[in-house]
């Protein structure tokens, strides 16, 4: 059951990706941003303590409207790379965090007011992270791996005056369902590695509201200058998940700066026209 679900989720993601590549408008909105802030980690496989410290993020996002949808439905892709350098409360041990998120989403656009756009939709993310505890023996590392379907909503307000062109945007995502890897409580990674085919059903979990909760948000201000759009804002990510008597928690608060620009995507025969 779990394996079927995982396979369906992966195939759906690939199919959607193919779909967007074929049907997308060539005008694409492209954003690069970096984030600096604080991260708090709890991974009861590694330690019963909360670790907190520096967090650095690199975010790359693209979005465009699908073809023939009258600018009502858009797609988004996101790549996030994250690094954390965290310490236990007594400052006697550290956990280094290396994470990555690859996501694809689609949103329907409503325009209740002239300058206000509300977008609702979903993201399918593939998320992974490696956590390394400097002091532990045999359980020195822990890995997160999941595919998750997120419900997503974005609100964008355009401020247009003679002197100021600005977009105010807030995005909100919450995990709905997916599939995640969680080792058993006393499972050593030596054992998982040695017996992965036998242990796959024990370490693979269907996830939904009963065992995974979270809110990811991002507040951004886009300043439209003469040649470039500058972005500033903050992001928060609070997630908690459980399984096999283990608890995991992750909070990130980051200040963001970046740049947004439009590009025209041309390739193949289109480029010759």
């Amino acid at each position: 059951m779990r394996h079927s679900f995982t396979i369906i989720l992966i195939i759906s993601s690939l199919w959607l990706t193919k779909l967007y590549a074929q049907t997308s408008e060539p005008f694409m909105n492209h954003t690069w941003s970096i984030g600096v802030g604080n991260m708090t980690l709890h991974d009861s496989y590694l330690s019963p303590a909360s670790y907190s410290g520096l967090n650095l993020n690199l975010n790359i996002a693209e979005s465009a409207f699908y073809k023939n949808c009258d600018e009502k439905i858009s797609w988004d892709t996101r790549l996030q790379l994250s690094y954390g350098d965290t310490y236990n409360p007594a400052k006697t041990a550290s956990i280094n965090y290396f994470g990555g998120i690859l996501g694809y989403g689609s949103h329907y656009h409503f325009q209740p007011l002239h300058n206000l756009t509300i977008m609702t939709g979903a993201f399918v993310n593939v998320e992974g992270a490696l956590k390394y505890n400097s002091r532990n023996v045999n359980n020195m590392g822990s890995g997160d791996l999941n595919t998750t379907l997120y419900a997503s909503a974005i609100m964008r307000y355009k401020v247009r005056s003679e002197r100021l062109h600005m977009n105010i945007q807030y995005e909100l995502m919450t995990p709905v369902l997916g599939c995640m890897f969680i080792p058993e409580m006393g499972h050593s990674y030596y054992e998982i590695y040695e017996n992965l085919p036998n242990d796959l059903d024990k370490v693979t979990h269907f996830s939904s509201f009963h065992n995974k909760q979270g809110i990811q948000g991002k507040f951004t201000l886009d300043f439209l200058l003469k040649n470039v759009t500058l972005r500033a804002g903050f992001s928060h990510n609070n997630q908690t998940w459980q399984g096999n008597d283990l608890n995991f928690k992750q909070s990130q608060f980051n200040i963001l700066i970046g740049a947004t620009y439009n590009i025209i995507r041309l390739g193949g025969k289109k480029a010759e026209k």
Binding site: P48, A93, N136, N138, E184, M185, N195
Partner: protein
């Protein structure tokens, strides 16, 4: 609709920010730390049933001693005394000023090893060779190859074995001395032992805790040696393995495997055990605790936590030591020359 969204959002916020049992702040309180230590072991230590330990009773006895605790040193000593009741070399408490350790598992056994004799002129001498984690040389007038492996944390490569194989090509047999080797990585034990088997073989089992109860374990999973992954094929060579009580953890696992290898004889003293792969946790004051968490068994599913017996039990003697001889090495030489 608006109300539903607000309620759902508030519930999510509540769920992701709700209180849990994690240590969020530094806490030096002796009772908090003692209880955390006791609970961690109560939930995760794997040998309560095997050792028939009354862990609740242990708590009652040692928690009462906290009334006399005035410093971090006092607390450490009470915790260390409690841990000593487990009689387990894989249980240690690490602080910034001390590391607790249990020595009872080898204290009352013959040493069966003298470093000065092994590295003396009779055997390895001063000019022994080093390949990876191995010290090696030819002994007994070049008739016997001798390998000393001190630590299973030190790795090796196929090239190390190829050169040793060439160096030992005219030897009648090889002695592998793992006495006083306190363990290291299980991978090295598996790869080294794989050299002496002719086919993929189940040499033991392991299982892990699946819940907080003392008997909550997974099914036993087989552990294999596989000659296909071995750095060299020594399955045809005559080999004697030397062990003693200080063979612990990964070395205990290695000896367990070698007892099943076709052309290998294991001699010396009973190994020290340490059949539980250790994991770690920590206390609110930042001290680390290491404890046995993943029990391992031999090919029959029997316990190896208390050590395994060699094929031939033999102890070193003072008479031999007085003439610079190691009784166990001499026995191994005779065994290899006689076959």
């Amino acid at each position: 609709m608006k109300r539903t969204i607000i309620i759902a959002f508030s519930t999510l916020l509540l769920l992701v920010s709700c209180e849990d049992n994690t240590y969020k702040t530094f806490d030096a309180n002796p009772y908090t730390n003692f209880d955390a230590l006791w609970k961690t072991l109560d939930q995760k230590y794997c040998y309560f049933e095997t050792k028939n330990l009354d862990w609740d009773g242990v708590k009652t006895v040692y928690r009462a001693k906290l009334t006399h605790v005035k410093t971090a040193f006092d607390l450490f000593d009470v915790c260390a005394q409690m841990l000593d009741t487990l009689q387990d070399g894989h249980v240690n408490l690490y602080s910034s000023f001390d590391i607790s350790r249990c020595t009872g598992w080898f204290d009352n056994y013959p040493a069966n090893y003298n470093e000065n004799i092994v590295y003396g002129p009779q055997y390895l001498g001063a000019n022994y060779r080093i390949a990876g984690g191995f010290h090696y040389g030819r002994i007994n007038n070049g008739e016997i190859g001798y390998i000393r492996y001190r630590d299973f944390s030190n790795g090796f490569t196929s090239a190390n074995f190829s050169y040793m194989d060439y160096y030992f090509k005219d030897c009648k047999g090889i002695i592998i001395d793992v006495r006083n080797n306190g363990g290291g990585q299980l991978d090295y034990s598996k790869n080294f032992a794989s050299c002496f088997f002719t086919e993929k073989t189940i040499t033991g089992y392991m299982r892990h805790k699946t819940g907080f109860g003392h008997t909550d374990f997974s099914e036993m999973q087989p552990m294999y040696v596989d000659p296909a992954l071995a750095p060299i094929d020594w399955s045809k060579r005559k080999v004697v393995v030397l062990c003693n009580r200080r063979c612990y953890s990964a070395t205990n696992d290695f000896v367990t495997k070698m007892l099943q290898a076709p052309n290998v004889t294991v001699i010396g003293g009973k190994t020290g055990g340490g059949g539980g792969m250790p994991l770690s946790s920590e206390l609110p004051n930042g001290w680390m605790i290491r404890f046995s968490a993943v029990p391992m068994y031999d090919q029959n599913g029997s316990e190896i936590e208390f050590g395994v017996n060699p094929d031939i039990q033999i102890n070193t003697t003072n008479e031999d030591a007085s003439t610079g001889k190691d009784t166990i090495i001499e026995y191994a030489i005779n065994l290899l020359k006689s076959n």
